[in-house]
Symmetry: C3
Subunit: 157 residues, 3 copies
């Protein structure tokens, strides 16, 4: 890939949403020694959770996968706000995808692909992280999907 991540984003026709505002006592992004921890992202619009409920019972898997993708875009927006540009991301190190799951749902990894497919589209192999996908009992504000990111950054200052 010769283009930069921000160029790729434009080529893909993707626009970053507004950076997420914290819904409690935490930072959207914490930077420390070439690492950036991004807080768990749930997808909101105008302050409300999009498609609340449990995946499978209330939210179809295709919708959940798209929410994971949008959670990744929100994370990129938070990183751009903190780092100046997503081009200062060196590598995605680890992603955890929490899926609020109705009993018996067993396709959390497919939901998770919504987030990590996007990262690979934008960052190439540097967007392919270590990953865990798990099914949880519930999430803040009834969100069906929450995604957390750890990133390696270029030296900043």
């Amino acid at each position: 890939m010769t283009s930069t991540p921000s160029e790729r984003l434009r080529e893909l026709g993707l626009v970053l949403p507004p950076p997420p505002r914290p819904a409690g006592t935490y930072s959207p992004v914490v930077l420390d020694e070439e690492r950036a921890w991004v807080s768990g992202q749930i997808v909101t619009e105008a302050g409300s959770v999009v498609h609340p409920g449990l995946v499978d019972r209330d939210v179809p898997i295709e919708v959940a996968r798209d929410l994971a993708r949008r959670a990744a875009l929100q994370a990129l927006s938070a990183l751009a706000a903190e780092l100046g540009s997503i081009d200062h991301v060196r590598r995605f190190l680890r992603v955890t995808v929490y899926v609020a799951s109705s009993p018996g749902f067993a396709r959390q990894h497919e939901v998770a692909n919504g987030a990590t497919d996007l990262l690979v589209q934008v960052f190439g192999e540097a967007g392919r992280p270590a990953r865990a996908a798990v099914g949880v009992a519930g999430l803040p504000l009834n969100a069906p999907v929450e995604v957390e990111f750890l990133v390696g950054t270029v030296p900043l200052r």
Copy 2:
């Protein structure tokens, strides 16, 4: 803030509980290259879990929030035991709050504030971490809340 975290703790009238003892094959704190990983804290007294059960059905949210706060105090105690003093904490990087949630409970972020509000009271902005709050099906010994911490430390030797 001109006072140190340990001075702030005293000013707030807070006393650290005894450092937690591992309930299995793990370390309370692992130090490596100016980072400290603190194992998931559940609140116990004399070896028993305080207020066992699921949040909302068995444990009111106000109690759960206070348990998150006490889990943070336990973590500070574990860090003090390992680092010599909580003043050797440079910054809280990431906190994960697991809330054992009855069906439909959607206020895990408010429970999580119990932990991170305390960190900000004691450490100021250095206590404001990246955070994920999730609702889980159950926790060891029926604890309603478990909190895990990653900290940046001053250079140690």
Copy 3:
């Protein structure tokens, strides 16, 4: 311990399984600056999950503990494939054990010991990580146990 981890493994009569193949858009292991993040391991044989279901209702705790142990062996296999040898692991920093739990199950920490007991057998005190054990609603492909690892490595090139 005077023997190396790979010698210990042999002395214990343990053989590493084939390295796990990713079931989605992620890397089995990501290396960065003397750290290795290992993706969440679920135990599979010939591409199928072993003992699917919820722990307690469908999968006895003794079986779950053994699956946690096998998940740790899979992680060692992934690390060996990426680092050349498990002897390039310097220290286990953090392990998260997700246990798909039937309602009321409260012994996730005992399941987790299956993974961390093995690490201590093979690596001695360097195998004793910070740990969180939590009960989740479900896991990919109905796996009863998923284990995630963060490791400090020797300097690599």
